[in-house]
């Protein structure tokens, strides 16, 4: 490496990856149901996709984590997004493609993707 620009490129790449270790300013929590029901329905790739995208896009103040059974096993995989005030949006029947949409629309732009929410059954 010879230039500041190269240093900056490495820094930006790494900050997304190391940022996961700084949950001080976490405001928005994205929770994926990872009980037996969730895992059986395919929650793991959903969780992995959400986590990877949040880190790659370096979205500030968002943590992606797991939780147990939410109680709506037939609608798994379920993803819940808690905003800083604790209000939550529940997405159901998630898959990797839908997860990408959630990240782009909800987490980046703040627009709830109503068609995937539990209220839409």
């Amino acid at each position: 490496m010879k230039s500041l620009a190269e240093l900056k490129a490495i820094k930006e790449k790494m900050q997304g990856q190391v940022g996961i270790r700084n949950n001080d300013q976490a405001e928005t929590r994205v929770v994926v149901g990872m009980a037996t029901c969730g895992i059986a329905a395919g929650a793991r790739p959903v969780l992995q996709t959400l986590s990877t995208l949040v880190q790659e896009k370096n979205i500030p103040g968002v943590i992606v984590t797991q939780t147990g059974c939410i109680g709506l096993c037939q609608y798994e995989p379920i993803v819940e997004v808690y905003d800083p005030e604790g209000e939550k949006v529940t997405y159901i029947n998630m898959d990797e493609e839908k997860a990408k949409e959630i990240v782009d629309k909800h987490l980046v732009r703040g627009a709830v993707v109503t068609e995937y929410t539990v209220g839409n059954i």
């Binding site: 490496m1 010879k2 230039s3 500041l4 240093l7 490495i10 820094k11 790449k13 790494m14 900050q15 997304g16 990856q17 190391v18 996961i20 270790r21 949950n23 001080d24 976490a26 994926v32 990872m34 009980a35 895992i39 793991r44 969780l47 992995q48 959400l50 986590s51 990877t52 880190q55 790659e56 943590i63 992606v64 984590t65 797991q66 939780t67 147990g68």
Partner: protein, 598 residues
């Protein structure tokens, strides 16, 4: 990308309690359960709570597990890492509040009052990854210095920050750099050195920085090189620190590969390279002139000052020598500014200080606090108090060169000048807490024994003076001392301080001086009453059985290795003082507290 990071402490403390084994089993188990693409295991430096090792933090939830054993690993992986169910029984007890809610780590007593500057990356990044260091703003300060600042600017910002040497002396770092830059204008070669020869008993601050954030040192030394006009640096580090040496070697190699050491760093004319020199463990080699003599390949003995290293140092060339913790502050000061640094601490002591907490304290470990924090806060809030409900007696700072702080000064704000005033010193940061069971004369004797052993022998006051001091202390603790001996201590201390060649000898009598100052009554008790009030000096103790408390169970008889106790079941037990070797085995065995020493 990993959705979860498991940080396992790889510092020396946790290493000793088995973190390496825990980590390798963790990696295997994660693989076995098919999570190796989702969960990353990272080895980090010291988290600070060494008493509770092996320690592990799981992100993004920031859950702090303590005393993790290999047998706990399958449960952590299948419950927490896969399903997100925290294994509560392994959580650090302080993070669990009474209503079963989990508190953030920063709200616990141990971390709440800490402020991490020098240790900011310890326990956060993988010390063996230069990329992670860069991700944490690493090498940005070096880039800023080389491309935006003149060497004078760099020195000015360090001067303005008020940073003082963290190795013990407290000399302003900026002034040291300024002298090295200007004193010999036509020098053809200059050097930058780092003192990582941390020799005080019980001190492990620099070790932890090196183990947890070695790149910070590499970056700071390059900045120092730029500021003073040196292109070559040496890190003098104890060979007894294998983990630190290994990680520093990796860091230097990675920096070279990235072109952050070597020629034309950041496309400028500046070149700088580092070399490691291993010390063989002589305490005197922590003294700057002895250290440089040792780097030169000669026997580590001190030389008179002046000339100071800034004028004539390594191989007679102008040299800057700072300690590890001092360097660890530099990149932060460059990035965040002198005002930011000067906003922490007291009027004359800016910033933070790392202390290695040890002795009679619950949270043994590594802490970093703003200057001006009181000893009471360190002992009772951060340190979690003294085990077994014992009373605080004193704290020793500065190791064998420092002195003790008694209860009467526990509320004094800790900074360089206050400590000197009460007869101790900041030292490099060892802080050993003593309770009512510690005999202060014995403590002084312990440190003197150390300095007698470590005196290099070059000058007479230190070589013979410390030996005589030690002999007098031995005489007192064995019950043969006179009041004349106690008076002699005073004069001998002053003589050694005034006449020794280097810092080792000049400060060696400090433990005696400060215990005499605050605990003279204990010396007098040893001499006049032939008693050791704390019950430590065995020559002055007699063991007795209190008949009313004795249940005549013969437990003490069986455990006595000298057959000094006579008696039988339901018969009176007695100790024969002629046979008793004062090993304390009976006291520890007796469940009824029937054996007393006085």
């Amino acid at each position: 990308m990993f959705r979860s990071h498991v940080l396992v402490c790889g510092g020396t403390g946790c290493h000793a309690s088995g973190s390496a084994g825990v980590m390798s089993v963790l990696r295997e188990e994660i693989k076995r359960q098919g999570l190796d693409k989702e969960v990353q295991v990272v080895q980090t430096g010291c988290f600070g709570l060494c008493a509770l090792g092996p320690i592990m933090i799981v992100y993004p939830e920031a859950k702090f597990y303590s005393r993790v054993q290999v047998s706990d690993i399958p449960e952590i992986v299948s419950e927490h890492l896969l399903k997100g169910r925290v294994v509560e029984r392994l959580l650090y007890h302080e993070t669990l509040s009474s209503d079963d809610n989990v508190k953030s780590l920063n709200d616990t007593g141990f971390y709440k009052k800490q402020l991490r500057v020098a240790l900011r990356n310890c326990g956060v990044i993988n010390p063996e990854s230069i990329d992670e260091y860069i991700g944490a703003d690493g090498y940005e300060a070096l880039g800023k210095c080389l491309t935006e600042m003149s060497p004078e600017d760099v020195i000015k910002i360090i001067l303005d920050s008020g940073l003082r040497g963290r190795g013990g002396g407290g000399f302003p770092t900026g002034r040291k750099w300024d002298l090295a830059r200007r004193l010999v204008p036509d020098a053809d070669q200059k050097y930058v050195c780092c003192n990582a020869d941390e020799g005080d008993p019980g001190a492990f601050m620099d070790r932890s920085v090196l183990e947890g954030d070695p790149h910070a040192l590499v970056e700071a030394m390059a900045i120092a090189g730029y500021a003073v006009g040196a292109n070559k640096g040496y890190v003098y580090i104890r060979a007894e620190y294998p983990i630190a040496v290994g990680r520093l070697e990796i860091a230097i190699q990675q920096a070279r590969n990235y072109g952050l050491l070597g020629k034309n760093i950041f496309d400028t004319d500046f070149e700088f390279d580092l070399e490691i020199r291993l010390g063989a463990g002589a305490f005197v080699c922590g003294e700057e002139t002895a250290l440089m003599t040792s780097i030169e390949g000669r026997r580590g003995e001190p030389n008179p000052r002046p000339p100071f290293p800034a004028e004539k140092g390594l191989w007679g060339k102008p040299t800057v020598l700072n300690n590890v913790e001092t360097y660890a502050n530099i990149p932060q000061i460059i990035l965040k500014g002198a005002d930011w640094f000067a906003s922490m601490g007291t009027e004359k002591s800016k910033g933070t200080k790392v202390f290695a907490l040890g002795g009679k304290i619950n949270n043994t470990g590594l802490v970093e606090i703003p200057m001006g924090t009181t000893l009471r806060e360190i002992v009772y809030e951060i340190g979690g108090g003294i085990p077994n409900g014992k009373k605080f007696k004193a704290a020793q700072t500065g190791g064998p060169s420092g002195g003790c702080i008694p209860m009467s000064h526990i509320d004094i704000p800790i900074d360089y000048d206050n400590l000197i005033e009460i007869g101790s010193m900041m030292g490099s940061g060892g802080l050993i807490v003593m309770d009512e069971d510690n005999c202060m004369v014995d403590i002084a004797k312990f440190f003197l024994e150390f300095t007698v052993d470590e005196s290099c022998g070059k000058c007479t006051p230190c070589r013979i003076g410390t030996k005589r001091l030690f002999e007098i202390l031995e005489k007192i603790t064995s019950g043969n001392g006179t009041m004349e001996d106690v008076d002699k201590l005073d004069g001998l201390c002053a003589y050694i301080c005034d006449n020794s060649l280097c810092g080792l000898g000049q400060t060696a009598p400090n433990p005696v001086k400060s215990t005499l100052r605050y605990f003279k009554d204990e010396y007098i008790a040893h001499v006049k009453d032939k008693k050791c009030p704390a019950g430590v000096c065995t020559d002055l103790l007699t063991y007795k059985i209190v008949d009313e408390k004795c249940k005549r169970c013969t437990a003490c008889l069986k455990v006595c290795p000298a057959e000094a106790i006579t008696g039988a079941v339901k018969e009176r037990h007695t100790i024969n003082p002629a046979k008793c070797i004062k090993c304390d085995a009976c006291v520890q065995k007796c469940k009824f507290g029937a054996i007393v020493k006085e």
